[in-house]
């Protein structure tokens, strides 16, 4: 099967620091891939390049076999690539429903269709009771759920989720996990960045581990987590 997303030799430098070094991998349609690694390993930088928020210095990225390096985030969103940020990004002065409608309308849904879709998402994510509030009034966890929902106003071809489970209540974590499981079962493609290893093990059949900007290991999650290089990267040389 031809890959949905192909990352080919991507490198990004910030001055003397090589944040991403010659990274290559493919994501097939319908895969749910965990992207793991210690802090500063280059996961978010790589996601920024994949979602058009940063441009790489070398290499290229193909979406559906077509080069998409250089496309702006809005262009990539229109091609079905959605991104959830590590630090929550919502529209705080707009109400929760309107937060969802922005993406729906921008990606071509009619007003009624967008509203129906937004209400269904609010129900599924269990935040319908705060739909009338300004998004800035929500709790941190509810904001995360809202941003998560914003990525699914139109079914994305590929969802890049950066730390969706960080600092939220287990109940909300379970709501998101259930949502991801259900969509994955329907054939949806995900790349999930997380430090929450139990969740990665539970959700992701495949994982890619990065360290110091490089791919350390890529394969079945259980094998990746057992790889000596990965253990060393997480626990340090003395523990390995």
């Amino acid at each position: 099967m031809s890959p949905l997303l192909s990352v080919q030799g991507v490198t990004k430098r910030f001055g003397g620091l090589v944040a991403v070094a010659d990274v290559s991998f493919d994501i097939a349609p319908g895969e749910l891939v965990g992207l793991i690694g210690p802090n500063g390993s280059g996961k978010t930088t790589l996601l920024n390049i994949m979602s058009g928020h940063l441009s790489g210095d070398q290499g290229r990225i193909l979406l559906d076999g077509e080069p998409c390096s250089g496309l702006k985030p809005q262009g990539l969103a229109r091609r079905g690539l959605m991104r959830m940020f590590q630090l929550t990004r919502i529209f705080p002065r707009m109400n929760v429903l309107d937060n969802l409608l922005v993406g729906g309308r921008a990606l071509g849904l009619a007003a009624d269709e967008a509203k129906t879709r937004a209400n269904a998402l609010l129900e599924e994510l269990q935040i319908a009771h705060v739909g009338h509030l300004d998004a800035g009034q929500l709790s941190g966890g509810q904001m995360k759920l809202l941003e998560f929902g914003c990525c699914f106003m139109r079914t994305p071809r590929l969802a890049l989720l950066d730390e969706p489970f960080a600092a939220i209540h287990p109940t909300m974590k379970e709501i998101m996990s259930r949502f991801i499981r259900a969509r994955h079962a329907e054939g949806q493609t995900f790349v999930l960045v997380s430090h929450d290893m139990p969740v990665i093990v539970e959700l992701c059949p495949r994982s890619i581990c990065m360290n110091a900007g490089r791919v350390l290991s890529d394969g079945a999650t259980s094998q990746v987590l057992a790889a000596p290089a990965v253990i060393e990267a997480y626990l340090g040389g003395a523990a390995a």
């Binding site: 529209f91 705080p92 707009m94 109400n95 309107d98 922005v102 921008a106 990606l107 106003m153």
Partner: protein, 316 residues
Amino acid sequence: MSGDVRLRREFIATALLLVLLALVPLVTRDVYWLGVLVVSAYFAILASSWNLLAGFTGQFSLAPAAFAMIGAYGAALSAAYYNVPPIVGLIIGTGVAGLIGLVLGRIVMRLRGPYLALTTLSFAEIARLVASNSINITRGDLGLPLEPWFNDRVIWFYVFFGALTFVICGLYLLLRSKAGLFLEAIRDDEIAAARSGVRIVFWKTAAFAISSAAAGFAGALYAYFASLVTPELGLVQQTGLVVSMTVIGGMGSLIGPVVGAFLVYVTSEWLRDVGGWQLVIFAALVIMFARLFRTGLWGLVTTALAPRRRAAGRPA
């Protein structure tokens, strides 16, 4: 509260306010006070156009008065050199301001905060100095005279109120469409808006052009009212007044700039006897609102009414 409901509520409140003000000529035909209300309506259009940019899109431009001046010169120069009728002059003034706004909007599109403010302020000063120094074309500080369109102050009163109503209706229709949703999203978080698929460049430029065209429209109309166009229309103090009116009335609401414009201008006329102190009073008011009531007078009103809505069992 849904954004649609909030906007509709503001639109109805604005319409009620305009209907009330439109009754003034039935009470008094005092030429001076009708003139004050005409100028207030001019500032209400300017403040509303600036509010589209600063309040709804988050672009803090310091050039609304410059665009009003450009609109005024567009109308006056086309009348002086090509003898066009006022309605055509009005269209030309609006169009020229909108076109220049479109170009400036593209140039400043990636600028934010103090950089955007400084760039638009520099543009405003350049535009004013060009008008002031192009003596052969504009007669410089002597001003460019215009044949008056109407001589009756009551007619002018209703012309300006019609123009203000037209602008408010236009803004309401724009803001309740998906464009309004996108502009507010850009204001709140440009990166999140881009992630959602909003075309940032297009919508920011469109907002700049529409806002500039509306300011140019106000300026062109004012040119026919005043029968004289001078570079003073573009003074940065005029922009300061527009910003004060919007902040005091309530930035980011449809009604705020209209309330602010009438309140500030009419009160400043009342305070004329106290001389320079009126500026001190307004400056203090702006500081107070910016520090304590960032949602302006309209925000205070909605907050005051909110407990009653809750008591009545409706969502706040």
